[in-house]
């Protein structure tokens, strides 16, 4: 059994989501290799070689892969896939963009967002916004899979000593081009890997009021998230969205502030270890999943909370 994990990286460093995907690969058993496809991605490949339990890192360093455009990377992964039984990527926007394309090139199905590995061909995954967990079995000779990162504990990023092999295969489909990227720079932990997340919803009333969450986030070293309602209303950027079709988080502590708790939002956070809900509507559905509910006006409760921690 051989598994290739497609690394999540920004050429300079390896993203934490890769470590969760490696953990899922480990659950399948056998050799686990990592592919780092990028441009000037030697540092990311070096970091991948340190990851615990990796046999080999394949580094495909070419301008065609710089922004990991799916049209180009999928052709590379499909070609390299000939040597592997399983192709895995974390279920991030990047993994979701590339892996179905790989699967179709290989004429196999793709299994999205696996929560567990039951056997070599059987997995569980959430459907209907996580209201149902399906057990699915693949009859394909090769499995192409994306991994729900919150369902697998990350493997250690250190301790490995894999060889780095450079790969000179170049695929440029010539149909897509990177133009620009507007990525917010933040000193806060990443939303999907933070151990504490504090999210605001429609109840925050406007974007400026999110500053009430910032002081608490600073004290708890928390990431800040939001409900779809808050993103749609323009309070915060899209990448804050926690939910069925946004980011899936499972921190040790999730604090939902002014969030009513639509099933689509619950789908993105209900696997958090401890959930706190602060909402002035005592009938808000968020209280049904909260370990600790506080019925209060958030504009009074938040400053108090910041002072008390």
């Amino acid at each position: 059994m051989k598994t290739l994990v497609i690394a999540e990286h920004d050429n300079a460093s390896l993203k934490a989501a890769t470590l969760n995907a490696v953990a899922a690969a480990g659950a399948l058993g056998g050799d686990v290799d990592i592919l780092v496809a990028g441009a000037g991605c030697g540092d990311a490949a070096h970091a991948a070689a340190q990851v615990s339990g990796i046999s080999k890192v394949i580094c495909a360093d070419n301008a065609a892969y710089e922004h990991q455009l799916a049209e180009n990377v999928s052709l590379l992964v499909a070609e390299l896939g000939a040597d592997y039984d399983n192709l895995l990527a974390p279920s991030t926007p990047n993994g979701k963009n590339i892996m179905p394309r790989v699967a179709a090139l290989l004429d196999v199905g793709q299994i999205s967002d696996i929560l567990s590995v039951e056997s070599a061909d059987t997995f569980t995954r959430p459907i209907y916004a996580g209201n149902v967990i399906a057990t699915v079995q693949s009859s394909d000779p090769k499995k192409v899979i994306t991994v729900r990162t919150t369902a697998f504990d990350a493997v250690p990023s250190e301790g490995g000593s894999a060889t780095v092999e450079s790969c000179s295969v170049v695929h440029d489909a010539g149909v897509s081009q990177f133009i620009r990227e507007e990525v917010a720079v933040s000193d806060r932990p990443e939303l999907t890997s933070a151990s504490v997340v504090i999210s605001g919803g429609r109840g925050m009333q406007n974007g400026d009021n999110f500053s009430l969450l910032e002081g608490i986030a600073d004290k708890l070293n928390a990431a800040i998230g939001a409900s779809r309602a808050a993103v749609d209303a323009g309070f915060v950027p899209n990448d804050y969205q926690v939910g069925q079709t946004g980011k899936i988080v499972a921190p040790d502590l999730y604090i939902a502030v002014g969030i009513s708790g639509a099933i689509q939002h619950l789908a993105g956070m209900k696997d958090s270890k401890v959930i706190v809900a602060i909402n002035k509507d005592e009938d808000a559905p968020i209280f049904q999943v909260a370990d600790y509910g506080l019925v209060a006006d958030l504009f009074e409760a938040l400053p108090e909370l910041e002072a008390a921690i």
């Binding site: 699967a103 749609d232 079709t245």
Partner: protein, 249 residues
């Protein structure tokens, strides 16, 4: 410019779907069905491009049982010009749907294919990308803004940490994210007019596609239940519980 829009019939987004007691499948008896929300956004985008004079014809396609003609009619009421229904029994998998859509693409030669990024039943998020691989088209997935240029299209995509803009050679595929637009409601006169718009039915045979199974559902279970929590009186009790009971701060 011709736009092909794919729409899917799914359980209405307000329905909380449950597993059947025997664990064989989800219980979909008597639940309300609707057009997948992301597909509705796809239809709206095509209609806006037509209103802007960029798109001249919108073809709405759906793959599924005969009941999905209802969702094609919804797309027609929203502004699509004609419908194509590819009739398949049961629940076809994303790869099968992508192959059938490729058949329709070969027949229709659209300049643009617009579809939802995922359907809220299977939550797969695969079909658009798979169609991209099968047709060789570029893909602007998770689109929050679309600008059509001369022979190409610029798509702003929702990615980790922000937004990415890519340029794709036409024909190309767009999969919609939530912020692309806010869909309109169909007016009653348009719903009436939609009943008279042409709707063609095709079979997989006609598109030379064999329907195969790659991934089968073995069973379903409800997700782990969370134990009921408590209501705290005030902030100080909350902080005390978090520190001393849950020990998370």
């Amino acid at each position: 410019m011709k736009a092909l829009v794919a729409v899917k019939r799914v359980v209405d987004y307000n329905v909380k779907v449950r597993a059947k007691a025997d664990g064989t499948d989800v219980d979909l008896n008597n639940v309300k069905m609707a057009i997948n929300p992301f597909c509705e956004i796809a239809v709206e985008e095509a209609v806006r491009l037509k209103e802007a004079g960029t798109v001249t014809e919108i073809v709405a396609v759906s793959v599924g049982e005969s009941s999905c003609q209802e969702q094609i009619r919804t797309a027609l009421a929203l502004g699509a010009d004609r419908g194509v229904h590819v009739e398949v029994e049961g629940r076809p998998e994303p790869l099968t749907i992508a192959k059938l859509l490729k058949g329709v693409v070969d027949q229709e030669s659209p300049d643009l294919v617009i579809m939802g990024k995922q359907s809220i039943d299977g939550d797969n998020n695969q079909t658009g990308q798979m169609l991209g691989a099968l047709t060789g088209m570029g893909q602007g997935t998770f689109a929050s803004e679309v600008k059509i240029g001369d022979g190409s299209i610029e798509v702003v995509r929702e990615v980790d940490g922000g937004l990415q803009t890519v340029s794709l050679t036409l024909p190309a595929i767009i999969t919609t994210d939530l912020r692309l637009n806010e869909p309109r409601y169909a007016s009653l006169p348009n719903i009436m007019k939609a009943k008279k718009k042409p709707l063609e039915t095709l079979t997989p045979d006609q598109l030379s596609v064999s329907v195969q199974s790659h991934v089968t559902q073995v069973g379903v279970t409800p997700p782990p239940e969370r134990a009921a929590g408590i209501k705290v009186e005030d902030v100080s009790q909350l902080v005390d519980k978090l520190k001393n009971e849950a020990k998370v701060i």
